[in-house]
């Protein structure tokens, strides 16, 4: 008989990494399975000239139809779309962006780290739509307080209730003149601004911040190349007793045993695992309420006139910032619920597509605006809806014979109206700062492309409408936990990973305590 572990963790990204970090330090013996290989950063990365790449940086055509973030330098990082297919209705494409490596998407994430607030946790109280979370901000605040120092989040405390302040490496950097002008314009329009809040360091990943500490305890066994197919249960008790997995390279089948199971395979993969296991769905809510954030990339593209003609000095140009949600806080918009945020950045050269020119004239125009660009991107709240869902498509299997997901999500009027509003406001903000707006639009990227997929195993107090309780524990299977973004009841315009980490920390401490008390395992 092979050892039985206390807790088996599926996935080594943000959520799985945090579960391992917490549990192992409490003396819990963990087995972590990840579908991907370990990365050897010394051997598996190296500098190359773009012209040395076989496709001159364009990448192999058609290799990643749904990963707009893929380029020829990083192509080998993303999960192969042919080995890992999924389906959707052709009219409603979904861009599912995955990384199957130890560390998951935290190997590549942008590290933007914002707290959510009771505008999200108690959104139904605020505007009547959807459901509240079973927790409120104050339940999560102590965990945010511990995650931020661990991820070395840099930021500036502002006192904005919609993005509560955290424990930051204080960002006191000076702003360039163009940023100062933009902030002044925002102030005149009563629009708040702040510094970006980001985890610092070249990497702020599970592989450097969470897994080393967990391994050091001696309580973690990490197995790469382990594609988990199904959670297994004890026939008598109905409790989870391990998982079936397949070696990625050889397709050899295994079964591993544990007293409790934590899923952290990323939002949609965890839902897929539960659906394929036929578990945790007495509510009928499993797979439903899929949402994300919508992005309007470069909602406006502007030029700072004083920086034209080679005058984009460091004093004038450069730097970035953030506008937190400002709609529907104390007032009520007629056309949409909730709100959106922006990232803004100064410097850089606007894309050639914005110039109705070609040849030498285009080159001259680009030289003229070199470094003089100012851009904004909208990140908007998406309403969770029962009819947006994932289900198993039995007709299609992945490389390992595991049935795949059919994904159905689209944006609706509320998101469209918000996107339009964000374009108008962005334009006014730029004009107010004296910038020339050279392009504007409100076309959102397809659902999924923001890489902030959430929901499908939502938490709640009502067993009839939710899959998990407030500690990410399955209502139906008490020793089965889902700790990634699939537990979200709703989201805001904030990027979700800091909240995923805080929830995983909270749930893991609860699990450890339950095991200590023998309530589980």
């Amino acid at each position: 008989m092979k050892p039985e572990y206390d807790v088996l963790i599926v996935g080594s990204g943000a959520s799985g990494g945090m579960a391992a970090w917490v549990l192992t330090q409490k003396g819990v013996k963990c087995l972590m399975l990840d579908a991907g290989p370990l990365v050897d950063f010394e051997r598996q990365r190296g500098l190359k000239h773009v012209y040395e790449l076989p496709y001159r940086g364009f990448g192999k055509p058609g290799r990643f139809p749904h990963v707009t973030q893929a380029d020829e330098f990083n192509a080998n990082v993303w999960a192969d779309e042919k080995q890992n297919p999924y389906t959707y209705d052709p009219d409603d494409p979904y861009y599912w962006v995955r990384i199957r490596l130890v560390g998951g998407k935290t190997l590549m994430w942008g590290r933007a780290s914002w707290r959510m607030s009771d505008y999200e946790f108690k959104n139904k109280d605020h505007d009547g739509f959807g459901d509240n979370w079973p927790i409120s901000y104050k339940d999560l605040a102590p965990y945010y307080d511990r995650v931020e120092p661990l991820f070395r989040v840099k930021g500036r405390r502002e006192g904005f209730p919609q993005i509560p302040d955290g424990v930051y490496l204080e960002d006191n950097s000076a702003d360039s003149e163009s940023i100062r002008r933009f902030i002044a314009s925002a102030k005149r329009m009563n629009v708040p601004t702040t510094k970006e809040r980001v985890a610092t360091g070249q990497f702020a990943s599970s592989v450097n911040l969470l897994l080393p500490g967990a391994l050091e305890t001696g309580n973690l066994t990490l197995i790469p190349h382990a594609v988990v197919r199904e959670v297994s249960t004890d026939r008598k008790t109905g409790l989870a007793n391990g998982v079936h997995f397949i070696d990625r390279r050889t397709k050899r089948e295994y079964h591993a045993r544990a007293r409790a199971v934590v899923l952290g395979a990323s939002c949609l993969e965890s839902a897929r695992l539960l659906l394929n296991s036929g578990l945790a769905n007495s509510s009928g809510a499993l797979g439903h309420y899929l949402f994300d954030q919508f992005y309007v990339k470069n909602v406006v593209e502007a030029v700072v006139p004083e920086a034209r003609g080679g005058r984009a000095t460091r004093e004038l140009m450069g730097g970035d910032g953030y506008i937190p949600r400002f709609r529907n806080l104390d007032t009520r918009e007629k056309k949409f619920l909730r709100g959106y945020a922006y990232d803004f950045g100064s410097g850089g050269t606007p894309h050639p597509r914005y110039f109705p020119l070609y040849g030498a004239e285009l080159q001259q125009a680009l030289a003229d605006v070199s470094g003089a660009g100012f851009g904004m991107t909208t990140m908007g709240t998406v309403l969770p809806r029962f009819e947006h869902l994932v289900r198993i498509n039995k007709d299609v299997k992945d490389e390992w014979g595991i049935p795949v997901l059919h994904i159905h999500q689209k944006y609706t009027e509320n998101e469209f109206e918000m996107a339009k509003d964000s374009m108008q406001v962005a334009e006014e903000l730029c004009r107010g700062a004296g910038f020339e707006v050279i392009a504007k639009h409100w076309q959102m990227v397809p659902p999924g492309e923001s890489i902030h997929e959430l929901g499908t195993c939502r938490m709640g107090d009502n067993l009839k409408t939710s899959v998990l309780n407030q500690f990410n524990q399955c209502h139906d299977v008490k020793n089965l936990f889902v700790m990634d973004g699939s537990s979200f009841v709703s989201g805001g315009s904030q990027n979700p990973t800091l909240t995923i980490l805080a929830l995983a920390m909270r749930a893991s401490e609860y699990l450890a305590e339950q095991m200590r008390r023998r309530a589980i395992g």
Partner: protein, 203 residues
Amino acid sequence: MKRRRAIQTLAGISVAGALPLPASPQQTSVAPNQPTGANQPPNETPKLDSAVAEAAAESVPRLFSSAQFGALGRLAELLMPAAGENPGAKEAGVAEFLDFLIGASPADRQTLYREGLDKLNVEARNRYGKHFAETTGTEAGTILAPLRRAWTDESPEDPLARFLQAAKQDVMEATLNSREWSVTRAKRSRRAGSLGMYWYPIE
């Protein structure tokens, strides 16, 4: 490259040859940094300089007919002409590269290009009685008028306009990412703009 060659010379490895041999027990007793004499087999694995095929050989166009290829060459030259020291699309072998890239692309991309290039030739014949490849800049300018329309986020209905937008982007990128562009820039600036962090296949 120069640095690498210097390291190889120091290690006593002839750049022109010397495949690494499996080490015998005696050889492993030699300290790795010890210079290898004439009678001693090398203990370090050599890193050989190599070049990309494009630097040494003509690529053979496969996808486009000669009329299409001629139109593409002219279009590329018009979209990204050489300027001062900077090479243009012609010097960067962009038409040859795009013949390869589009040839490796999904069918809809191939159709967009093929039909777009045919349309350029048809327009040139109807308006000026010649191939697009032979048009002057002014003549070509009337055919490329869709590129002078203001940007919108909608993809244009007109297939020629769609093709020209795609070509504008592809030609610029293929030029800026070319070896010729990189070499010219390197002469002027010590910052190697074309360098990026490449992830090798991860087993």
